[in-house]
Amino acid sequence: MPFIPHTEDDVKTMLKTIGVKSTDDLFDEIPSNLRINDLNALDVGLNEMAMGRDMKDRAARDGGLACFLGAGAYEHHIPAAVWQITGRGEFLTAYTPYQAEASQGTLQLLYEYQTMMAHLMGLEVSNASLYDGASALAEAVLMAVRTNTAAKESRILIAGNLHPHYRQTIEALVRPQGILLETLPYNDKTGCLETQLPKIENGDIVAVVIAQPNFFGGIEEVDAITDWAHQHQALVIAVVNPIAMALLKEPGAWGQRGADIVCGEGQPLGIPLASGGPYFGFLCTKMDYVRQMPGRLIGRTVDQDGKPGFSLTLQAREQHIRRAKATSNICTNQGLAVTAATIYMSLLGASGLSDVAKASHANSKTLCAALTAIPGIRLRFNSPYFHEFVIECPCTADVLIQALLKKNILAGLDLSVLSPELDHCLLICVTETKTADDINAYVNAFLHALQNITSISTTVED
């Protein structure tokens, strides 16, 4: 029997030891009216070979596109060593390191991860992961509410150019606790937050959420916003792309005092796109706020011989100890993804990460220049951007996306997801994975699609 090691003799002996006649007897405490006897509405099992054929067909249907789509999930080159080491049974099939002495591998790795992530963000502390970027932001909001006890009301100001899915996620996750979410508007020309920040009173606002880069790829004036928030006793929650942080100012250095809580999606750090997960959310903060942090934390300590070692610490924040009073309900996190990210960051080092950021930036500039040189195509927002930008087209973005799909190019995101008025806008991302040929292929396919569209519309008009 697949995966079950018992021989018939084993079963007999075991039943005898227990003192029952059949395995069925072991379920005799289940009231008979609740018993079912089979799962026969399901299919019979397949063997691994047949399953392989089936799954290869499915994978083939989903693969093979040249990806120019970002919008929160980014294709980067992942060195082979990352997943070959991450996939070792000892990392893959262990669980939460409750028994520290039998988990020093995972624990030390997580401590190293916490270190790298804190340094990347310019903050003092990082936890050992949350589910993903969006849910990490929700946790950051809840953490801010617990931390900023000076605030009169649980009001949070959220950048209007935050990823819409992030906004939806925090709505779902923090709304039950009566937290008010309000929008900090962005400027229609720059795509960035208005430089004229709203008038607020001290203690009106728990925290301000800023995205750097914002959903359009644009780069915000983070120093000014941070200082403004701090002047009004609001905390600053930064949502950032970790690869961008190799190039852009780290949140710990924003303004006079730095952002207070930094979170985001860890996926760009060595995690494949993989239909959206598993990724991981990261969360960093100042040492002062560590006791309000959600998620696992690993501390360095010593063993009884004085030898250094690592263990879960500040567990009194967590649900398995504090239960109803925990900082979060999170238990299982995204450990394996963090394992990969740690190996990724080690392999690249700071300068490697910076190379990736710069190459992505340069590539996106190249494609943007080529596209905006086409008559009728313009850059929608005039702010500097990192590796993602928005163009406005003479037709709906969806038409172009469909046309480029036929050439196996995933052209970008139709911004009508954000608001129906943006339906002529296409959000395009280019990372270091794209060659000059790839970029040319995009431009050619794009031109070709535009010509078709123009000729069709001309025909129709005739």
Binding site: L26, P31, D43, A59, T96, V222, M287, R300, T332, T339
Partner: protein, 481 residues
């Protein structure tokens, strides 16, 4: 040695990082980074060697028996891992149009169907990223349900004292007050206390069955009646589904909504703490409130259903669609096993637990519920040993590590003192169980003959017992130069 201690300034390992002539950037200088982050500067071999060596300091299913109760540490089939890692799946961007996502969408849809059938509930959303997020979804759905009916008085959630910590933590995240329900001496919910607790403020109850005490709650139908009669709804914590696959169904027990831990019952790797996946299943009453996205199928194409399709949905719980890779793995696992294989899971998991329990009882260990059947797990308590020998459950757990066996869950559930929650799972052999029994017997003997050997354990691991107090008091959470 930390990776930072292997680092040397100016060491370069840039093969992986593609370089481009740096383009003139229009990003203003004050928005650029000025100080490189403190990352290690190490060669590829150093990275490979460091993390390979680190991995070897872990216990894992692939290397050890790992009977961690409530965690279902069963074999994670290698074939499942391989097929879920096919390049077409790994390359696939989550926002790819449905026309180019049919492979993944079909797999997700099938899993929704399978889970619906197994649980006896009519609809499933796969988006929650672990059990706790599944709990959140379910409790938030109950909240949304009451609110949708204008029933704003229901501010309390009932949680048995045996419940997993995530249960009360979740209910609080959903804005509820918690009422704890005690357990009777047989491990069942105290019905009188339950009756006394319910009322017009009751939004619902969170329950797992079999409970984390390792026993099946026999009066579950009565509990359901009590809660429903009071206008509350029932949430099922599906962490223990491995115990009842194909034997009974939460939907039939009267539960309205539940989560399933794919990383437990469906054998996806636990990854040193995660990722998992916690799909939520609901009956018709709660179906409209399921979190999005959900996969729909019109007989020809699979597509994502969003809040446009499900206007009453509690909304979105993550940026994309949950832990898709885990969902793929669960699909493959379920279809590899098929209808017979899935039924065998609970049979052999239960057989192993009851065998282990019987043998340990014969060997003089104290069972928490000696007159009950074990479900897929059971509890022994070292209360006696702690008193008479001064040897705690923790000491015995640490000593087990010396013998190359991972410790069971300790000190959980909280209401059984000095306890082990032991879950062998169906993929362990009788020989492995017998070995574990013999080790426990040996340790008990050691505890009598040379208690210090046990109290000072572990002795054979990369580190001796760690100073947790120091860790919490002198917080050292990141390495500094």
């Amino acid at each position: 040695m930390l990776i930072f201690e292997i680092s040397a300034k100016g060491r370069r390992n840039h093969l992986q990082a593609p370089r481009l002539a740096p383009a003139a950037t229009d990003i203003p200088a004050h928005l650029l980074r000025h100080k490189a982050p403190l990352f290690p500067e190490v060669s590829e071999l150093q990275v490979v060697r460091h993390y390979t060596q680190l991995s070897r300091k872990n216990f894992s299913i692939d290397t050890q028996f790992y009977p961690l109760g409530s965690c279902t540490m069963k074999y994670n089939p290698r074939g499942v891992h391989q097929l879920a890692s096919l390049e077409g799946f790994l390359q696939h961007h989550p926002l790819t149009p449905a026309s180019h996502s049919q492979g993944y969408l079909q797999s997700a849809y099938e899993l929704q169907q399978i889970l619906s059938h197994i649980t006896g509930l009519s609809a499933v959303s796969l988006t929650p990223m672990a059990g706790a997020q599944g709990e959140f979804a379910g409790v938030a759905m109950i909240r949304a349900y009451h609110l949708s009916r204008g029933d704003t008085a229901r501010t309390e959630f009932l949680v048995p004292d045996a419940a997993h910590g995530t249960n009360p933590a979740t209910a609080v995240m959903c804005g509820f007050r918690i009422k704890e329900i005690p357990t009777d001496k047989h491990g069942d919910v105290d019905l009188d206390a339950l009756r006394a607790a319910v009322g017009p403020h009751t939004a619902g109850i969170m329950l797992t069955n079999p409970s984390t005490l390792g026993v099946f709650e026999r009066r579950i139908s009565e509990i359901a009646k009590i809660i429903h009669a009071a206008g509350g709804l029932l949430y099922y914590d599906g962490a223990n589904l491995n115990a009842i696959l194909g034997k009974c169904r939460p939907g039939d027990m009267g539960f309205d909504v539940m989560h399933i831990n794919l990383h437990k019952t469906f054998a996806t790797p636990h990854g040193g703490g995660g990722p998992g996946s916690g799909p939520v299943a609901a009956n018709d009453r709660l179906k409209p409130f399921l979190p999005t996205p959900i996969v729909g199928y019109d007989g020809k194409q699979y597509r994502w259903l969003t809040t446009k399709d499900c206007p009453q949905s509690i909304g979105r719980l993550s940026a994309f669609m949950g832990n898709a890779g885990i969902i793929l793995r669960a699909n493959i696992y379920a279809r590899l096993l098929g209808r017979e294989g899935l039924c065998r899971v609970s049979e052999y998991a239960t057989l192993n637990a009851n065998y282990l329990m019987a043998r340990l009882q014969q060997a003089g260990f104290t069972l928490a519920f000696p007159d009950r059947r074990a479900s897929h797990e059971f509890i022994i308590t070292f209360k006696k040993e702690a008193k008479t020998l001064g040897v705690s459950a923790k000491d015995i757990a640490k000593r087990l590590l010396d013998y190359g066996v991972h410790a069971p869950t300790t000190y959980f559930p909280l209401l059984v003192p000095e306890c082990f929650l032991i879950e062998p799972t169906e993929t362990e052999s009788k020989e492995e169980l017998d070995n574990f029994i013999n080790i426990l017997i040996t340790i008990l003997k050691e505890a009598k003959d040379s208690p210090d050997l046990v109290k000072q354990a572990p002795h054979n691991l990369p580190v001796r017992r760690l100073d947790d107090l120091k860790a919490a008091k002198e917080l050292d959470l990141t390495w500094r130069e």
